[in-house]
């Protein structure tokens, strides 16, 4: 990632199990909601075991083509495999967890 990107690495693990990237568009409502929701879910379910990068596509337009981005906000889970793409404001926690492959012990 080049330096003028808006990267916010979150997480405290050098070798996290979950590698996540969240693509947003500036400060739109969906984007803000998505950021809050993702952070909340991560903190709640995989605390300390993830890295989260938040990328503003407006700031880095070439990445849209590179990453095949159409719908935003988009959360890409590149680790653990299989890679998954989650779109939306992440308000449906059940689906987010399913997408991330996190099973909640009931």
């Amino acid at each position: 990632m080049s330096e003028n990107t808006d990267i916010e690495p979150i997480g405290d693990n050098d070798n996290p199990q979950y590698v996540l990237r969240l693509f947003i568009t500036g400060a739109s409502i969906n984007s803000r909601r998505a950021v809050v929701n993702v952070k909340q879910i991560c903190e709640q379910y995989i605390k300390g075991n993830y890295s989260l990068e938040i990328i503003d596509v407006y700031q880095q337009k070439t990445i849209a083509e590179k990453e095949q981005i159409i719908a935003l906000p988009l959360l890409i889970k590149s680790k653990p495999l299989p890679a998954r793409r989650l779109i939306g404001d992440m308000s449906d926690t059940q689906k987010v967890l399913k997408g991330l492959g996190i099973s909640i012990g009931t």
């Binding site: 693509f23 568009t25 739109s28 969906n30 909601r33 998505a34 929701n37 596509v57 407006y58 337009k61 070439t62 849209a64 083509e65 095949q68 981005i69 159409i70 719908a71 935003l72 906000p73 988009l74 959360l75 890679a83 998954r84 793409r85 989650l86 779109i87 939306g88 404001d89 992440m90 308000s91 449906d92 689906k95 987010v96 399913k98 997408g99």
Partner: protein, 572 residues
């Protein structure tokens, strides 16, 4: 119908248009697609939507200095590049030259989990970046409907599409959106409700196992446009649309005359032959020599240094050339000199419209002075009578507008009492030559009539049409006591007449000799009488001289005696 653009009010600011550069399409749309607005191209699978849009971009980039972005939702960019390479479009190089930008949008439904509200800002950003990076003026969204299959929330997609098209309008880019044809609707997802400025429907129809591609402008706001279905061709040169349906009859009429290649036929046609840019129909039953007339005409045209295209629907070029050489017409040399072009194809090769399209295309390329279609009868195998007639009307219209003379040959059936050809084109053409079998005395001969020839005095006589080693010729038929005589009957009559002349000559000369002889006899008689007269005269002269001599002698004797008597007297 193609409307006349000159009637448009020029002083008002009309809709600006972006030339597509596709042959014929700009004519139908009177200048192209609406500039800065989206145009929907829809049609079933495989009808040429993608190719249409690629051509639009390539021509825009290369000819009108309008770079373009191609956003593919279906095919990969590499696939597209390979697919259009056969048309001579080097998309790779054009991408390097920043004339075109290809972007493949991949949506894999199985990979995506929808977790709430979202929008298509990613697409906007991508497209916006692509447009800005090359200063694009044209955009193609190839089958954007794939979004619907990739994403679940239809409400969002519809709202976003509406926003997208508004946004594209604001960006002032001319956009093509392609859409797959749906059941009972123009597109599966009803895209036409978002794109209301210009909708073009492509169709690929197969009737009687023969395919025809058709294009129709369903709507075009703010512009007059052709409303018919226009056939179009996809071949090695890309797409060409054929706007040959014109309802106006406003073409120029030439007073130039061109020879038919048969001097005697020219004589029948007011002494000078056909009018330039006229249409000539040669009809006749099988084997009457229609192709030979066509061959002569082609030969004559090329001999005058003019170009000619020969569309053969029955024989191969080699066959025609061989057959023509047997009657002393050498077409090969015209092919070698580039003046004559053969185009031979079975009528069943493609549909009527495609035939028209390919004829049209070839004519535009070759720019001939004369065109021959031999025979049009065979076209009926791929269309109905009215369709063939329609095709020929349009072809004649087009040719006349280009000042091209056209000769059709048509097979007339024997049981056709009205003399109409099957294609009933005889009312369309300017000149109609009919070759008819005249069967008599156990042989078949050909009689040629000029059934009509507009705008010139033409012979009303039947001429015998003779094909010999030296080409075709017309011979005056003989009107004998039994009616019209042709073939050997005519020759017999001619021989008889010749014999009569010889006999007459002979009789005349015999009489002359008689007179000569009589004269000689007379002259010899005159001579003998003359001789007689001479001898009589001599006889008469002889007595006369003798008398004189006698008289003289007597006188001298008397003188002598009187002298002697005197002497006797003197001594006294």
């Amino acid at each position: 119908m193609i409307p006349d653009s000159s009637e448009q009010k020029n002083h008002l600011r009309a809709l600006e248009k972006a030339c597509t550069g596709i042959k014929g399409l700009d004519e139908i749309t009177l200048g192209g697609f609406p500039q800065g607005r989206p145009t929907l191209i829809c049609g079933a699978a495989g009808c040429g939507k993608t190719l249409f849009s690629i051509e639009f971009l390539v021509h825009g980039a290369l000819e009108y200095n309008e770079p373009g972005v191609f956003m593919a939702f279906e095919e990969k960019t590499e696939e597209i590049t390979v697919n259009v390479a056969s048309l001579g479009f080097d998309l790779e190089q054009m991408q390097k030259d920043k004339l075109i930008r290809l972007d493949h949008v991949r949506i894999e439904r199985s990979e995506i989990e929808e977790t709430g509200e979202y929008d298509l800002d990613g697409l906007f950003i991508r497209l916006g970046y692509a447009i800005d990076s090359i200063g694009a003026k044209r955009v193609v969204l190839d089958t954007i409907e794939n979004l619907f299959s990739g994403l679940n929330n239809q409400g969002i997609i519809r709202a976003e599409l509406r926003r997208l098209f508004e946004w594209l309008k604001e960006k002032k880019v001319t956009t093509i959106i392609t859409g797959e044809k749906g059941d009972g609707a123009l597109t599966r997802q009803g895209l036409e409700e978002y794109v209301s400025d210009c909708v073009i429907l492509l169709d690929h129809r197969v009737t009687n196992k023969i395919s025809t591609r058709l294009l129709r402008i369903v709507k075009y706001r703010g512009s007059v446009h052709g409303t018919n279905e226009y056939p179009f061709l996809i071949d090695s040169d890309g797409i060409s649309v054929l706007p040959v349906t014109s309802l106006t009859l406003s073409h120029e009429a030439s007073t130039d005359r061109i020879s038919s290649g048969i001097p005697a036929l020219d004589k029948m046609l007011g002494g000078k032959g056909f009018f330039r840019a006229s249409s000539v129909l040669v009809s006749g039953t099988a084997g009457t020599g229609k192709t030979s007339i066509a061959g002569s005409f082609a030969n004559e045209t090329c001999s005058n240094g003019e170009r000619c295209i020969y569309f053969a629907f029955e024989e191969s070029p080699k066959q025609v050339i061989r057959n023509m050489s047997s009657i002393g017409i050498d077409l090969q040399r015209h092919i070698d000199s580039g003046l004559l072009k053969f185009n031979a194809a079975r009528p069943t090769l493609n549909g009527l419209e495609m035939h028209l399209a390919s004829i049209h295309k070839l004519i535009v390329q070759f720019k001939p002075h004369a065109v021959i279609l031999d025979p049009i009868t065979n076209l009926i195998t791929v269309g109905s009578v009215s369709e063939v007639k329609n095709l020929l009307i349009r072809l004649i219209d087009f040719l006349q507008s280009q000042e091209i003379t056209v000769m059709f040959t048509a097979l007339a059936l024997n049981d056709n009492i009205s003399e109409q050809t099957d294609e009933s084109v005889s009312s369309l053409v300017d000149a109609w030559l009919l070759i008819r079998d005249i069967e008599m005395n156990g042989e078949r001969n050909r009689g040629l009539y000029v059934m009509k020839s507009r705008g010139m005095k033409h012979s009303n006589q039947v001429r015998e049409f003779v094909i010999s080693d030296n080409g075709v010729d017309l011979v005056d038929v003989f009107l004998g006591p039994d009616g019209v005589l042709t073939g050997s009957a005519r020759e017999e009559q001619q021989l008889m007449q010749k014999a009569g002349i010889v006999l007459k000559d002979h009789a005349v000369s015999r009489k002359d000799r008689e007179i000569d002889r009589k004269r000689a006899v007379l002259e010899s008689k005159i001579a003998s009488l003359k001789e007689e007269f001479e001898s009589v005269r001599e006889e008469l002269n002889k007595t006369y001289i003798e008398d004189e001599l006698k008289k003289e002698v007597l006188e001298s004797n008397r003188k002598e005696m009187s002298r002697q008597r005197g002497r006797e007297d003197s001594p006294e």
